[in-house]
């Protein structure tokens, strides 16, 4: 996840996946991520470059403790600071935000901003649009990735090789190429009417994420084949195999893909900006952009509200997020 995550405008999912607009590369690092637990040997449970003996030496201990402390301060200041400031602005009268942004409530706090953002600018309604967007995009991604992974990894018909190649090839196509052709397709679909202002315009393209398919197919590859064989002997067809055996065993990877999917929809801007224009479907990110010039206090409250859910989700599912983020690098690595 390089600067990509923030700066690639993702029409179809490739770009929304951290950095996946670009190249996929050899699998060494994925193997590494599988190996990752190996280091926890009993006598040195979590060692890095510094050994326990190193830590006992005062010079090493105080240098590294000091560096860790400075790092913590920097992280608090740099990563948390702006968000705390945002939280403060949400409850500060506009006049104070503009004249004394760094003072803490010089003239008292207010809930007027929140009230305005919620009741006058109807943040809640756009919030629900984002929820719909995320749910549908999540569903397509899970459906495509699990069934596709099942075909590529478990059923493996003759043509799986070609399909696999065709899916992987899309990893090498930067998201920028898809933007205009996809827009054309949505405005003039070969069947039916224009999908502009229709949630399907964001739901369907989200599914075309080669990154998800690779992630899930590799996970399926790692499931023990004997279980599939046993199921077959017991008379289970491919549908039962998929539904009762493969899916229940794949909860971890489905969790990772789900988290990615939801967060990607939450972050997406350019594509919904182009295709979800009407207030009845506009997601929060697109709506916020149109709010850029309203009263600063109200804007800050709206920004704070829109940040709350992703941050809450992150704090609840932090393990899954961080594992997913590390895995993301590994697949691309």
């Amino acid at each position: 996840m390089t600067t990509t995550a923030a700066s690639t405008p993702p029409p179809a999912l490739p770009g929304a996946m951290p950095g996946s607009a670009g190249a996929a590369a050899p699998s060494a690092a994925l193997a590494a991520s599988v190996r990752r637990r190996r280091r926890a040997t009993p006598d040195n449970p979590d060692r890095g470059a510094l050994s326990t003996a190193d830590w006992r030496r005062p010079s090493v201990k105080y240098t590294w403790r000091g560096m860790h402390f400075v790092l913590l301060l920097l992280l608090l200041l740099w990563c948390l600071g702006p968000l705390l400031l945002l939280g403060k602005f949400a409850f500060t009268p506009t006049q104070d935000i503009l004249t004394h942004p760094m003072s803490i409530f010089p003239n008292g706090a207010t809930t007027k901003n929140i009230d305005q953002a919620w009741n006058r600018y109807h943040i809640g309604q756009f919030f629900m649009n984002t929820v719909w967007f995320a749910l549908g995009a999540w569903f397509t991604q899970i459906l495509v990735a699990t069934t596709g992974g099942f075909v590529l990894s478990v059923l493996r018909p003759r043509w799986a090789k070609v399909l696999n190649w065709a899916v992987l090839a899309t990893l090498f196509v930067p998201a920028v190429v898809l933007l205009i052709p996809l827009y054309k397709l949505i405005v003039h679909p070969p069947i039916g009417d224009s999908l502009i202002n229709n949630f399907f315009a964001v739901w369907l393209p989200a599914g075309a994420s080669a990154f998800n398919v690779v992630l899930v197919a590799r996970f399926f590859d790692s499931l023990p084949r004997e279980i599939f064989e046993a199921a077959r002997v017991d008379g289970a067809g491919p549908f039962r195999l998929f539904w009762h055996i493969v899916l229940p065993m794949s909860k971890p990877i489905i969790g990772v893909v789900s988290v990615f999917a939801v967060i990607a929809s939450w972050k997406d801007f350019l594509w919904p900006f182009l295709v979800l224009k009407d207030d009845s479907v506009k997601p929060l990110s697109v709506y916020l952009q149109s709010m850029a010039n309203v009263d600063k206090g109200t804007l800050m409250a709206a920004l704070a509200i829109s940040t709350l859910i992703p941050i809450a989700m992150f704090l609840i599912f932090q393990r899954m997020f961080l594992r997913g983020a590390g895995l993301g690098g590994a697949v691309k690595g």
């Binding site: 190193d54 596709g148 899916v167 064989e229 704090l315």
Partner: protein, 319 residues
């Protein structure tokens, strides 16, 4: 790179119907699971076909047409590509994009590495550090940009100017100035993305085999030598990948220039991707053919660059 590199040798396929060889007829095909495989492939075939494979082909077609998406498209040969090269803004947007990518590397490449190496030596509270580092990544980009846009208020009362004023610096014009605008954009982009890179490095650091450190200690290596001669070489593969991915990502930067400055002041932050957008969608736009041609050229450039890059780094990695 061949596909073989990307997919490790997979374990043998499950043969759901291991009948002895019978002549292949539609019936045996169905019985052998051919039909169910096809049914399972419907979602991936439909979604990728319609929203990935077809648009890629369609991009090549559109780049050879003049189209505004309402009237019937007209074939114009290579006119769109000629128009791209004749565009007086082309040198500017290329220069700006390269400048963004270069600044993003300077700001955003070494810092996460140092942070991750430090964090990987934590014996406790590693989770707290990771969560803090990753926090900005989950903030929706539009929120981050609008918030930072306010931070960059050029008045002396602006957030950054206030803070810098405490140590006697500024006030700085930030986004309002042609020189300052781009670094300001990159600073925010780095804030928003660095945490992800940190987590990738941390995952790679955890997989450095402990035996290597043990061996280095037997040889009497100091802490710094261990970091420099064991940790760094083990990270080389990941470092190569994140570098090229970051360049590919930043070469397509859109959100920051669009929302912060809309390419201004005086085109100082107009990037290639923003040019694509403006050609196609902005007021006087509807020039979908030229926009597609420009996006294809960018993609081709990135593809060639990645290939060369992997060629070079592969030989380095092996040496």
């Amino acid at each position: 790179m061949t596909t073989d590199d990307v997919v490790p040798a997979a374990p043998p396929a499950i043969n759901l119907h291991t009948r002895s060889r019978i002549r292949r007829t539609p019936v045996t095909w169905v019985r052998r699971g051919g039909l169910s495989a096809l049914l399972f492939a419907i979602p991936i075939l439909f979604i990728f076909g319609a929203f990935s494979w077809w648009p890629i082909i369609s991009a090549f077609i559109m780049s050879l047409q003049k189209t505004n998406l309402t009237d019937a498209p007209v074939w114009v040969g290579l006119d769109n590509f000629r128009a791209v090269f004749a565009d007086p803004l082309l040198p500017t947007v290329i220069k700006n994009t390269a400048w963004f990518a270069a600044l993003a590397l300077i700001f955003g490449y070494p810092v996460p590495l140092v942070g991750a190496v430090l964090m990987s030596e934590l014996r406790k509270r590693k989770g707290l550090y990771s969560v803090l580092a990753y926090l900005p990544v989950v903030v929706p980009p539009v929120v981050a940009v609008l918030l930072w846009k306010f931070f960059y208020d050029p008045r002396p009362e602006g957030v950054f100017n206030t803070v810098l004023g405490w140590v006697g610096l500024g006030p700085y014009p930030w986004l309002a100035d042609t020189t300052w605008a781009m670094p300001s954009l990159v600073l925010e982009a780095t804030w928003a993305a660095a945490g992800g890179t940190v987590i990738i490095y941390l995952a790679a650091l955890i997989s450095v085999p402990a035996e290597l450190y043990d061996a280095a200690e037997v040889d009497g290596a100091s802490v710094w030598r261990k970091v420099w001669h064991v940790t760094m070489p083990q990270l080389r593969g990941v470092l190569f990948i994140t570098l090229i991915l970051q360049i590919i990502g930043t070469a397509q930067v859109f959100l920051e220039p669009f929302l912060f400055t809309n390419g201004g002041p005086n085109h100082a932050t107009e990037t290639v991707m923003l040019r694509v957008y403006n050609l196609a969608f902005a007021n006087l736009g509807n020039n979908f053919g030229q926009a597609t041609a420009l996006s294809l050229l960018l993609a081709a450039f990135l593809a060639v660059m990645s290939l060369v890059y992997f060629r070079i780094t592969r030989s380095w990695s092996q040496s």
